[in-house]
Subunit: 406 residues, 2 copies
C-alpha cells in the first residue's frame, strides 16, 4: 500500500453485551458475530463488553485468517471488555483506566468492577500509522436523575486528553465505542471539540440504518423497553469518530447500522446495534481547513459547561466524604464508650454490668462494622474528591490556554 494515495478503511464497532450467565443467548450471538465478521472482512473491528476471555479466544480462533492481529485489554476485577481485531499489524497497545468509574457499593450497576478504560492500539495500515482507541464510558442508568454525570464527564475529559496526547504523531485517529452519551450531551461536545474528532454519522455521504443513527432501539428484542419510553425512536450512544492530521483528507463514504437484527438473521448481535463505517483517506499535498479553529469560541463554552457539571459532582462528593467521615467518628466514639464501660466494670467502678452481655457484644460488632464500612467509603469519596478537583483544575487550565493561545 506504500505510495498508494488512497486508503479505504472499513470499521466495525459493537457493544457485544456478552456478560457470562447474565446476557441472553450470549454464546449464540458471539458465534453469529464471529461468522458475520469473517464473511464481511472489515479492516478494523472494535468490540466492547466482551467480558469473558473465553469468548475472545473463541473469536480469535474463528477470525484468525481474516483478522490476523488482535488484542484483548485486561483491567479491573472483571476486565475492560475491550478487544480489537485488525487486518493490519498491531504494533503497540496502551490501556488507560479512567480515574473515576461509579461506586463499588452500587453492585447492581457494576461499572466500578469493570475498570472501564480506553484501549489504544497502534496499527500500521500500509505506510500509515492508524490509532484506533476503543472505549466505553460509564453507563447512564437514569437520565432524569443522573448521579453518574460528573463521573462520565471526568471520563470524557480523560478520554479527550488521552487521545490528544497520544495521537500527536498519528496520521489517522479512529475512536469507536459505546460512549453512553447522546449526541448533544456536553460530554460528547467536549470530546469532539477538545480533540477535533469528527462524527462519522454526521459526516457520512450515504447512511443506511436505524432512524437518526440510533444504536439502542425499541425494535431490538434485547433492549429494556421501559428505559426507552422517553425516546420512542431510540437513542444514539455508540459512535465512530475520526480525524486525520497533516496533509490528509478523510471522507466518510458510508455509515450503516444494523436495524434490530443481524443482517439476514432473526436475532440481533447484541442489545446495541452495530455501527459500520467506510472511510476514504487520501494523502495530499495541502492540508484541508481544520474545523477546530472556527469552533474555538463554542469549545470554550463547552469546557465551561462541563466544568460546571464537574463542580456540582465535586460538591456532592465533598458532602458524602463529610458524612461518611462523621459516621466513622461516631462509630469510633461508640466503641470507645463501650470500651470505657467494659473497663469500668472490670475494675469494679460501676455497680456491675448494666447491659446484657449479648446485646453489648452485638453493639460492639455493629460499631466495628459501621466503622470499617464508613472508613472505607470515606477513603473512596476522598479519592473521588481528588479526581474531580484534578479534572476541574485541568479544565480551568484548558480554558486559560484557549483564551491565551488560541
Amino acid at each position: 500500500m506504500e505510495g498508494d494515495p488512497t486508503l479505504r478503511l472499513r470499521i466495525f464497532d459493537l457493544n457485544c453485551w456478552a456478560i457470562r450467565y447474565l446476557s441472553k443467548r450470549r454464546q449464540e450471538r458471539v458465534q453469529l458475530i464471529g461468522d458475520v465478521l469473517r464473511q464481511e472482512g472489515f479492516d478494523l473491528v472494535l468490540l466492547q463488553e466482551v467480558w469473558s476471555e473465553r469468548d475472545y479466544s473463541d473469536l480469535k480462533v474463528k477470525l484468525g485468517r481474516s483478522y490476523p492481529f488482535s488484542h484483548y485489554f485486561r483491567s479491573g476485577v472483571i476486565g475492560s471488555g475491550l478487544c480489537v481485531f485488525s487486518r493490519f499489524p498491531i504494533l503497540d497497545t496502551l490501556l488507560y483506566q479512567y480515574s473515576l468509574n461509579g461506586y463499588p457499593y452500587m453492585l447492581q450497576h457494576g461499572d466500578w468492577f469493570c475498570g472501564k478504560s480506553v484501549g489504544l492500539v497502534v496499527a500500521w495500515g500500509g505506510s500509515w500509522p492508524v490509532l484506533p482507541p476503543s472505549c466505553q464510558l460509564h453507563a447512564e442508568y437514569c437520565r432524569e436523575k443522573d448521579a453518574y454525570l460528573p463521573h462520565r464527564l471526568v471520563q470524557a475529559w480523560e478520554l479527550a486528553q488521552f487521545i490528544r496526547h497520544t495521537s500527536k504523531a498519528a496520521d489517522v485517529v479512529l475512536v469507536g465505542g459505546d460512549l453512553n452519551m447522546h449526541p448533544e450531551d456536553v460530554g460528547i461536545r467536549l470530546l469532539r471539540g477538545w480533540t477535533g474528532l469528527r462524527d462519522a454519522f454526521a459526516e457520512a455521504t450515504r447512511f443506511e440504518g436505524c432512524e437518526d443513527g440510533c444504536t439502542l432501539v425499541p425494535g431490538n428484542c434485547f433492549t429494556v423497553k421501559s428505559e426507552l419510553l422517553p425516546f420512542p425512536r431510540g437513542i444514539r450512544i455508540d459512535y465512530v469518530l475520526y480525524k486525520v492530521t497533516g496533509s490528509f483528507t478523510v471522507k466518510c463514504e458510508e455509515l450503516k447500522t444494523t436495524k434490530g437484527t443481524a443482517p439476514g438473521m432473526d436475532i440481533p448481535f447484541s442489545d446495541h446495534e452495530a455501527v459500520m463505517a467506510t472511510l476514504q483517506i487520501r494523502r495530499q499535498g495541502q492540508a484541508v481547513g481544520d474545523t477546530l479553529g472556527t469552533a474555538e469560541a463554542t469549545l470554550a463554552d463547552v469546557v465551561t459547561e462541563a466544568r460546571t457539571e464537574v463542580g456540582v459532582g465535586l460538591r456532592a462528593a465533598q458532602r458524602q466524604r463529610y458524612s461518611t467521615g462523621r459516621m466513622a467518628v461516631l462509630a469510633l466514639l461508640l466503641l470507645l464508650l463501650q470500651a470505657a464501660a467494659a473497663l469500668g466494670t472490670l475494675v469494679g467502678l460501676g455497680a456491675g454490668q448494666p447491659f446484657p452481655k449479648l446485646s453489648f457484644t452485638l453493639l460492639a460488632f455493629l460499631a466495628i462494622g459501621v466503622l470499617l464500612l464508613s472508613t472505607g467509603l470515606h477513603l473512596f469519596h476522598t479519592m473521588e474528591v481528588k479526581m474531580l478537583q484534578g479534572t476541574e483544575e485541568q479544565m480551568r487550565m484548558a480554558l486559560r490556554t484557549l483564551q491565551e493561545h488560541p
Copy 2:
C-alpha cells in the same frame, strides 16, 4: 527565544519527603526548598512526595515570581505528591496512574494509598514544546526479598509506554523522579531501552556531588542507616532522564547533587539528595545518530528479563487469589452451617441449642468478617492478576515487534 538555536535548560529534581506529621522538620525543610529555588532560578522544578496540598500552596505563593507556572497532580487517597514549577508556560497536563501499586493491607508501606502516578506536563520553552513527566515508582522496602518487584516492573513498563505514546511529537522529553531502582536494575534498563531516554548522570560533562551520583546517602541525617548497610556509599535512585527528537542535539553540561545537606545549610532538603541538571539543546539540520538502534539486541534481552520477573509475580498473585478465594468459600460454608444449625434449633429438629449463644454469635461475626475480608482480597488479587497478565502480554507483543520490525 524564537529562532535561537540553543536552549539551556536548568532542571531541579527532588523527592521532598514531606509527609504531614511523620517527616522530620518538614515545614522548615519545605521553607528551605522554597528559598533555594527562588534564589537559584531553575527553568523546571520537579518535586515528588509533596503530600500536603498546603505545602504546595505555600511553595506556589513563594515561587510565584520566579516560576509563574505550576501544577499539582491529585490522585489516590492521599494524593500523588507530584508537583511541577516552571518558568515556561504549562499548556497542558495529564496524569497516568499506575495500574498496580502495592497492597492496601500493607498499611506500613502506604504506597497503595498514594496512588503513585506519572504526571505529564506540556510546557512551551520559547518555540519548543518540552515534555517533562515527573514520576515516582513503588518504593523498595527490602532488596533481598523484594515482594514489590513485579509491581515496580509493571510501573516501569507503564511509564515507558506512557512516555513513548505521549512524546511522539515532542521536541524535548524530560523525565525526573524517584524511580526507586538502582541504575543497573532491570526496570531502569527497560525504561531507558524502550524509550531511548538518556541518563543525565552517565552523560554529564561535569559532575559535582555524592560519589557515583548517589541520592540516598549515609551522610544525610534523615536516611535510615540500617537500610543503607549493604551500600556504604549510598544508592542512586533519583534520576533526570532526557531525549530530543528529530533535528536536535542535547548535551548534559553539568549534573550536581546535594551532599547530605542543603547548600550552605546544616540540614538537608530531604532524606533524598536533590538532582540538578543543566542541559544544552541545539537545533540543527541533521539529526544525530540515535543510540537506540545499536542497542536493539540488548533491548530484547531486557524486555525478556522483565517479562520473566513479571511472570514470577503473576504466579505469586495467582496463588494469593486462589488462597483468598478458598478462605472466602470456607467462611461462607461455616456461615451456612451455622445458619442451618440455627434453623434446625428454631424448627425444633435438634435437641435444643448445643452451643452457648454468645460463642455462637461471636463465631458468626468472625465468619462474616473473614468472608468480607477474604472476598475483598480475592477481588484485589484478581485485579492484580489481570494487570500482570496484561503487562506480560504487552511485553510479548513488544518482543515480537522488536524481532519483526526492528
